[in-house]
Amino acid sequence: MSETITFHRAEANDIDLIVDTIIEAEKSNSDKISFCNIFLVSLEELKSIFREMLKENIQGQEFCYSDYIILKVNGTDAACCSSWVEGTQQFSSAILKANLLFEYFGEEKMEKAQPLYDSLRELNLEREIGTLQIVNCYVKNTFRGMGLASKIISELINIQKTKYPLLEKAQLRITKNNLSAKKAYEKIGFSVVAEKTSSNLNLLNYLPDISRLLMEKRI
């Protein structure tokens, strides 16, 4: 029997699904949730903070629910992913996100985490202006092996190419340990173009890996 695959743009009532998507994507083939470890919050607190951040719906960064699309298989949520074109908002995605983190995690948690910032900065892979940014692509376990990551990314690229016909490049970031994700993205034409590694091995207590890869694809 063939499966019926449909896509829809996320709405406010999809926020819980997006929160789960961000957290699962964060784990990146590990059991570590960096936001919990860095800012010393429980999983439940983190979910609550993410919900509030997403409700703001500030476009052009990963905590914007309306930048997500959801793929359904036979009417059931199966995969979720976000995208935006860097530089189309007044400020960079990094600054928009930083302001949201400052606002919703609060200055006390931000300050406590400050000793880690220099090491975390070593992992920074800059988002190039004018490129399509693909983030938090997640396929639920029971729907894996069906090529859904490829389908949802293709859909996002089509949507954004229609809106921005001059788009030439899509970028995404993964942690180096996430070999299955790397393989899946390579299969659909992405290749690694940059790698950053932190010199601070202690970061392994906080993050799934201390190396991050930037992958790109011409679109």
Partner: protein, 87 residues
């Protein structure tokens, strides 16, 4: 404190936070002009400015603090408001 003095103090904070004496800010400076002004440095900037001026940015304000001009204006408003309350 006068508005010009706020700007001068903010200049010192930028040099300190970015560990670069050569960074010269203008009112129009924004993260797109200063390469090192990334998400984490932005958070450190806000924390340092709060401490230096003994002010608090409220949650509803942070989304607007994306350039030197906007930051200085907001700091100045907060200092004026503090002075008014004391007086």
């Amino acid at each position: 404190m006068e508005k010009e003095k706020v700007f001068i103090e903010v200049q010192v904070i930028f040099n300190d936070v970015f560990s670069d004496e050569n960074i010269i800010i203008t009112e129009n400076s924004s993260p797109s002009d200063i390469e090192a002004w990334d998400s984490l440095q932005h958070i450190v900037l806000l924390l340092t400015i709060e401490k230096k001026f003994n002010i608090k940015f409220h949650s509803s304000e942070t989304q607007d603090l994306n350039s030197v001009k906007l930051i200085c204006n907001r700091v100045y408003e907060k200092l004026i408001s503090k002075t008014t309350i004391v007086n």
